[in-house]
């Protein structure tokens, strides 16, 4: 091959390289709009669901009743059933926490404690059914409600956390996560007094943050 032939060959190679580079840049830069739209829809849905929780009463989504097992009492004249149809869904969650706050010392719940566990069970069941209906076929979800742990000694704290999930696979990419906060309707004095019934504590050591965080996370199916 003479020199001219070599020049042509190099020119063609460089040209091919440029075209390949341009193609790869184009491919790399091509937008994935469908994911973005989906995420935004998910975020809107999560926000709407949380607003629904704050405004819709249990009665509007079928009603909510439970029988407390806290007392272990049986009396023939009363069923003991509580009908909370006028409470909003968020209120049910907050009251679930209020009724089931746990005192943990050294990583273990201290006894004797008789939390209102049946209420917790029924609230979770009821809210799961509601979430399945609202979110159901479109996304997988996880609703987590928790108080910030209230530490009143290095080893002891008051806390509560509950979660309602539609799946167990945490490996997938989360579409969105929205949080609302609500006040736990218990005053510092009341909380302190209740804790002191079961664990000695001084007022100065307790700085409760009485907020409840309700976080709804969605995953694409």
């Amino acid at each position: 091959m003479d020199k001219r032939g070599q020049g042509y060959a190099i020119d063609m190679l460089v040209f091919a390289l440029m075209v390949a580079l341009a193609c790869s840049i184009l491919i790399k830069a091509s937008p994935n709009e469908s994911n973005a739209l989906n995420d935004r829809y998910a975020a809107n849905l999560a926000t709407s669901v949380l607003q629904t929780f704050q405004n819709v009463t249990a009665g509007e989504v079928g009603g909510f009743k439970y029988k407390p097992d806290i007392l272990g009492l049986l009396v023939p004249w009363s069923s003991g059933e509580r009908d909370l149809r006028y409470k909003t869904l968020a209120q049910l969650l907050v009251e679930d926490m209020l009724c089931n706050l746990r005192v943990e010392v050294g990583g273990r719940d201290i006894v004797p404690l008789k939390p209102n566990q049946e209420f917790d069970r029924q609230v979770r069941k009821f809210l799961k059914a509601t979430l399945d209906e609202i979110i159901g076929g479109r996304f997988d979800y996880s609703l987590v409600a928790r108080t910030n742990p209230i530490d009143f000694s290095p080893a002891a704290r008051v806390h509560f956390e509950t979660s309602i999930e539609s799946f167990r696979d945490n490996g997938r990419l989360q579409a969105c996560s929205e949080t609302v906060r609500m006040c736990l309707p218990i005053t510092q004095q009341e909380l302190l007094s209740n804790i002191q019934d079961i664990y000695p504590i001084t007022n100065s050591r307790l700085e409760p943050e009485t907020l409840v965080e309700i976080t709804l996370s969605l995953w694409s199916k």
Partner: protein, 696 residues
């Protein structure tokens, strides 16, 4: 052109192509960045609005819990307030105070947890931990630093709290980069409270307003039981029975007012008391608590009165007969015209005929009286006694009905004889030639007529006399008077037909009337004492619930007192509407029975009943009377729960091992009632003798 090669090399073309692609990608990326930036701003705005709405909603939640707490505290001592307004004012003030406590804590908590959110109150007021009610009541609600709460009634007795926050209360929310800031005013909102506070208040007001109904129902029950026992021949007033009946009466008032009663408690209380009273009350539902009916007695008196008026008419007619005969005699003696004499004698005969008719009417009136009593006797023991007393006798003299019929028979016979004499004389005149020939006959006739009329109208002479004792009537009997009996004499005027005259008939009827009038007085007294018993019956639904309740062997829960147990597990209401559970606490102390009828006063509590002899109708009524007083040990407590709305999260018990646990409870409206003593007069007047058992 010498060189035929291309005008540019491929590599240069490739370079241009690459540059073009890079430019295009750069533009697209920039454009997408712009789009993403806009989207983020949109999402941020939405998120901020959601957050602000969440805080607003949270404020409503804490207002609801503040109201729950205020309602609970005020309703626990509802009797501390003079009226509904002051109670509602206190709820509003306490709710405002608790709301501010929560709001201030919430403000600090948000500040610590999420710096983007700020709740802005203008000079939040600080309260003492245990505010006195005066602090709030003295403060005007329009104070600019204080949130104002106004309690309103919603449908079906629910409550609605109108919240007016301080002016310029704001929820401020900002984005993370502080580029977007929102400040939403939050000054007024309404919160629905899922407790029927107004229903509880209204029902408790009614319970207190009609509190005397308990006494009436108790009185009714005591009457029902006592009458049943008296008619069975043995009456015993026992403390245990009275306590049972009082418990029933109390529960009955609860049932009427609240649609339920504290039936588990009544069942438990009755377990240690005289259950026979309850059984007697249920089985004796048909017992007539009012054996005397004033109207019936008045009807009877009217029949007797009719007979007496007829006899008055007969008297007048007899005087007419006398006058006519006298006139005829005078005419005859003066040799007047024969027609005039005959006319007068005809008139006298007509009068006698009318008298005979009226005598029959007397008979009919008395027969109607007997028929009326007979129609009423059925299962009415008094009417039966009365009928027997009027129609049969095992004494030495005939009964009133017989005396009347025999008397009327005698009177008729005498009248017919009189009529015959006048008719004979009239025929004699007609057959004679002149009046002058009748000299002796005229005077003879006159003497006969005068004697007959005189006999018929003569003052009655008793044929039989009997003595008896009469105690003062309930109507005339005053406690301070001497209850000793007064001796009386009863007289019988007619034993045989010959005794029958207008006078004896009149006296007999008047004696019957006197007895009936005494009976009317007694019936009136009984009705007065029993006033208010109408509608005070113990409800059958209650007795059924109690019978159900008596079978319940509830477990003893030593860790709770009964009120605490009801807070946790209020009893299911007897009636579904309005759905109120009831708790009561009443410790009945002594029950006192003071015997106040004459025999009781003279001879003690177990003395036989005082007889009221209605001698002329051969009936004796037996009268016993007590002042019954029941004392409660403590002021009674009444608490009602909003059963369908067990919605307020509270500690199961204060200060125990439950610690932080909470349970939903129903709002309880608790009232301590001031009245401790109940009394009434029990009057038993039975036509049948009964024994009285009592501990003297």
């Amino acid at each position: 052109m010498k060189d035929k090669r291309g005008f540019m090399p491929f590599s240069l073309a490739g370079f241009f192509l690459l540059m073009l692609v890079l430019a295009m990608v750069a533009y697209t990326t920039w454009s997408r960045h712009q789009l993403a930036t806009n989207t983020i701003e949109d999402v941020t705005c939405e998120s901020l609005l959601t957050t602000a709405a969440g805080v607003q909603s949270d404020l409503q939640h804490i207002a609801r819990y503040a109201t729950y707490r205020a309602l609970w505290e005020v309703c626990e001592n509802a009797d501390n307030y003079d009226n509904d307004d002051s109670r509602e004012n206190m709820i509003e003030c306490l709710a405002a105070k608790y709301f501010m406590d929560y709001a201030v804590a919430m403000q600090q908590a948000y500040k610590q947890v999420d710096a983007r959110v700020e709740l802005e109150f203008q000079n939040p007021p600080s309260f003492e931990s245990s505010p006195s009610s005066d602090l709030f009541l003295d403060q005007p609600k329009t104070h600019e630093n204080l949130s104002s709460f106004y309690l309103h009634q919603a449908e079906n007795g629910y409550a609605l709290m109108e919240v007016r926050l301080q002016k310029q209360t704001r929820i401020r929310v900002s984005s993370w980069d502080n580029r977007i800031k929102l400040a939403l005013p939050c000054e007024n909102f309404n919160v629905f409270i899922d407790c029927r506070y107004f229903l509880l208040q209204e029902r408790m007001d009614k319970f207190i307003r009609q509190f005397d109904d308990i006494r009436s129902s108790w009185k009714w029950a005591e009457y029902a039981v006592a009458w049943g026992e008296a008619l069975a021949g043995r009456l015993e007033l026992s403390e245990s029975c009275s306590k049972t009946l009082f418990n029933l009466a109390w529960a009955n008032h609860e049932l009427k007012t609240f649609g339920s009663a504290d039936y588990p408690a009544v069942a438990m209380r009755l377990a240690g008391l005289d259950m026979g009273a309850l059984a007697g009350l249920i089985s004796g539902a048909a017992i007539r608590v009012k054996p005397f009916c004033v109207n019936d007695v008045q009807v009877m008196i009217r029949y007797v009165d009719g007979g007496i008026q007829d006899l008055d008419g007969i008297r007048a007619e007899l005087m007419d007969v006398n006058k006519c005969v006298e006139y005829a005699i005078n005419e005859a003696q003066e040799n007047s015209s024969l027609e005039n004499v005959q006319l007068k004698l005809g008139s006298a005969i007509g009068s006698v005929d009318r008298i005979l008719e009226k005598v029959q009417e007397v008979q009919q009136q008395f027969q109607q009286l007997l028929d009326y009593i007979a129609s009423k006797r059925g299962s009415d023991i008094l009417m039966l006694r009365l009928y027997n007393g009027l129609t049969s006798s095992d004494k030495n003299y005939p009964p009133p009905a017989r005396r009347i019929s025999v008397g009327i028979e005698g009177v008729e016979s005498k009248l017919l004889e009189l009529k015959g004499q006048i008719e004979t004389f009239a025929q004699l005149i007609q057959s004679s030639n002149g009046l002058e020939n009748l000299g002796n006959s005229i005077s003879q006739l006159y003497n006969h007529v005068v004697a007959s009329v005189h006999d018929l109208l003569a003052e009655p002479m008793p044929k039989y006399t009997e003595s008896y004792e009469e105690y003062p009537d309930p109507s005339t009997y005053a406690l301070e008077n001497d209850p000793s009996p007064t001796p009386r004499n009863a007289r019988i005027y007619i034993m045989e037909p010959n005794d029958g005259t207008i006078g004896t008939l009149d006296a007999t009827l008047k004696d019957v009337k006197t007895s009936l009038e005494r009976m009317e007085d007694v019936a009136t007294d009984v009705e007065l004492e029993q006033g208010g018993l109408v509608g005070a019956e113990i409800d059958g639904e209650l007795t059924q619930a109690l019978l159900g309740g008596l079978d319940m062997q509830s477990e003893q829960h030593a860790e709770f007192d009964r009120e605490q147990l009801y807070e946790l597990l209020p009893p299911k209401p007897i009636r579904p509407q309005p759905g109120i559970s009831v708790f009561d606490e009443l410790d009945i102390g002594d029950v006192r029975y003071k015997r106040v009828d004459p025999c009781g006063r003279l001879c003690g509590a177990s003395a036989p009943p005082t007889p009221i002899p209605l001698w002329f109708i051969d009936v004796t009524l037996y009268w016993a009377q007590w002042e019954v007083t029941l004392e409660l040990e403590n002021k009674p407590i009444e608490r009602i729960f909003d059963f369908p709305n067990q919605t307020i999260p509270r500690s199961p018990l204060d200060g125990d091992e439950f610690g932080l646990a909470k349970i939903h409870k129903a709002l309880g409206y608790r009232y301590e009632l001031p009245r401790k003593s109940f009394s009434f007069t029990l009057v038993i007047i039975s036509p049948q003798y009964f024994n009285i058992d009592a501990n003297d």
